[in-house]
């Protein structure tokens, strides 16, 4: 067992929000109980239809997406998705996104009375209007984090956007606001152009870049944040294998999230879990905690 900000995980691998739905589709491929946890599709107070298509575009070693937080709303999540997920022995992390303090506060109260294990505060979705504002302003972020923390008794994680000058500033703001941990990175804002039509490929013009191409940026940011805050860091960004995950853990992540890789291979999370174990066996490491932040600079 590993403890990440009060959340007890059976292993350090969590399925990342927005790439895993509510687990239903992946439950046809493996027992979701094998996962440390699942961060569910980003929830909003009311249902959302999301953006127009095309919503995806392949890039070298990754993808750009602009789904726009299509989701059934927090009430429907509580009513139908939590009971489904509770069939499996894994932790449920509710990823929530809002446009106002009130949106976040109401969702925190609803989820405090619901059977979830943690909240991941999504203040970094680049694909909705105003979505990133909270995540880019340290003062606002601290205030929002405190406000949600006051209304939710279980662990609270803040998901950080890389689209800032200093991710350490926003990480510190989350810590000051009472977050139990930070998760990073969300997607990098990007654009792809169809040169024959001279228009963006994505209907929403811009989208979030993810996949192996962002991994070095993510590893660097995880390490920077790890050195500057005292709360646990959840690392993500282009993880496809156990080796990738170990890289994040050495950089300072207490656990990792696997996202875009789920699109290419529905068994990606399982392969990462097995890969971490193989590495530990090979390197004769008994406890993954020994690895966290064990990086030594040249």
């Amino acid at each position: 067992m590993i403890n990440v900000g009060g959340l007890e995980l059976k292993n350090p691998v969590i399925a990342a929000s927005g790439t895993f739905g509510f687990g239903r589709e992946f439950s046809e491929y493996y027992d979701l109980g094998r996962l440390g946890g699942i961060s569910v599709k980003g929830l909003t107070l009311e249902p959302r239809m999301g953006n127009k298509t095309p919503r995806i575009c392949e890039t070298p070693s990754g993808i750009l997406n602009s789904v726009g937080l299509q989701n059934p709303g927090v009430h429907e999540f509580v009513r139908t998705e939590i009971p489904f997920l509770r069939q499996f022995d894994t932790k449920i992390i509710a990823n929530i996104a809002g446009n106002s303090f009130s949106d976040y506060e109401q969702m925190a109260e609803i989820l405090n009375d619901a059977d979830v294990d943690a909240i991941e505060l999504n203040v970094s979705c680049p694909n909705v209007k105003d979505g990133v504002v909270f995540g880019q302003d340290p003062q606002l972020l601290e205030k929002l984090t405190r406000s949600v923390k006051d209304r939710f008794e279980k662990p609270l994680f803040v998901k950080l956007t890389p689209n800032v000058t200093s991710i350490v500033d926003t990480a510190k703001a989350a810590e000051a606001g009472g977050a139990d941990g930070v998760s990073l990175i969300n997607t990098l804002l990007g654009m792809a152009i169809d040169i024959y039509r001279r228009r963006p490929v994505l209907a929403n013009n811009t989208g979030g870049l993810s996949g192996p191409c962002v991994k070095p940026v993510a590893v660097r940011m995880v390490h920077e944040v790890y050195r500057n805050v005292n709360i646990p860091v959840i690392g993500m960004g282009g993880i496809e294998t156990g080796e990738d995950a170990v890289e994040f853990i050495i950089a300072g992540a207490s656990c990792v999230m696997v996202g875009t890789a789920n699109f290419a291979d529905p068994l990606a999370c399982i392969k990462v879990i097995d890969g971490i174990e193989e590495y530990m066996e090979k390197m004769k490491i008994k406890d993954v905690r020994e690895l966290v932040g064990s990086l030594e600079f040249n």
Binding site: G21, E25, F26, Y29, G50, I56, E58, I63, A264
Partner: protein
């Protein structure tokens, strides 16, 4: 539990200048494959898989046809006999079969899933109306000939078969023949027109949709299309809820 499969390349045939037919040894796939379903196929170094509908599946041999277009399909067009291709599937919802008199209407590369549909519609009276740009683009004519009772081929430029659009050929065909269902696959503008013709004749119509996909299994919500069901607009996932849908729900008024 579902999984992906590694299938051996038995043959890669060139059908036209840009269209290929890939034959895979899929004897390791034990699942039932319904017409209209697709496989999500790893193509070279591309990050995402590419979805291709099943063109035929018989005696463990899986046939997938594709158009060489972007990076992924270019890589797939270079696979060699004996190599293995990573396929995920069968995925999605297929066509509803079991009607007495059926007609399939295909345009261009949209004809491929209709061949498997004809082959799996045993006991039905089967007509096919297929449209291509020109004679050089006509594919699998013999296979279609053998798989249906009545084949009409139309070419836009009149270089083969009847002259004109497939939709014009369909209109003429429906004047003389009656059907219990029409199935269509092709460019969306064509499928919409097919639906309008069917509506005039009061024939139910199923369409097979195409959209850029991510995961292919229904999780990422990238390939949605708007449908109207019981008067409510909603997003349906082409990969999981489709790719086959009822035309009146997709082309709602």
């Amino acid at each position: 539990m579902k999984t992906n499969y590694l299938c051996r390349v038995e043959e890669l045939k060139r059908l036209t200048d840009t269209i290929w037919l890939l034959e895979l040894d899929a004897s390791n796939i034990r699942e039932d494959i319904k017409p209209g379903q697709f496989f999500h196929v790893k193509c070279g170094e591309g990050y995402l898989r590419r979805p291709f509908s099943v063109c035929d599946f018989k005696d463990g041999m899986l046939r997938i046809a594709f158009e060489e277009k972007g990076r992924g399909t270019k890589a797939l067009a270079r696979v060699k006999q004996g190599e293995y291709v990573d396929v995920l599937g069968p995925l999605g919802n297929g066509f509803d079969i079991g009607y007495d008199r059926i007609c399939v209407v295909g345009g261009g590369i949209g004809v491929f899933p209709l061949l498997y549909l004809l082959n799996k519609s045993e006991g039905s009276r089967k007509d096919a109306v297929l449209g291509f740009l020109c004679k050089d683009k006509v594919v699998l004519e013999n296979e279609f000939e053998n798989s249906c009772d009545n084949l009409v081929i139309a070419c836009d430029d009149g270089s083969y078969g009847v002259r004109g659009f497939v939709t014009t050929a369909l209109e003429k065909h429906l004047e003389k023949h009656d059907f219990d269902i029409v199935y269509t696959c092709g460019p969306s503008i064509m499928m919409k027109k097919v639906y309008e013709i069917c509506k005039k004749h009061n024939i139910p119509c199923q369409v097979s949709l195409e959209e850029r996909m991510g995961c292919g299994i229904g999780a990422c919500l990238v390939c949605v299309c708007e449908v109207k069901k019981e008067n409510v607009l909603q997003n349906k996932r082409v990969c999981k809820d489709g790719p086959v849908m009822w035309a009146n729900e997709v082309y709602y008024d």
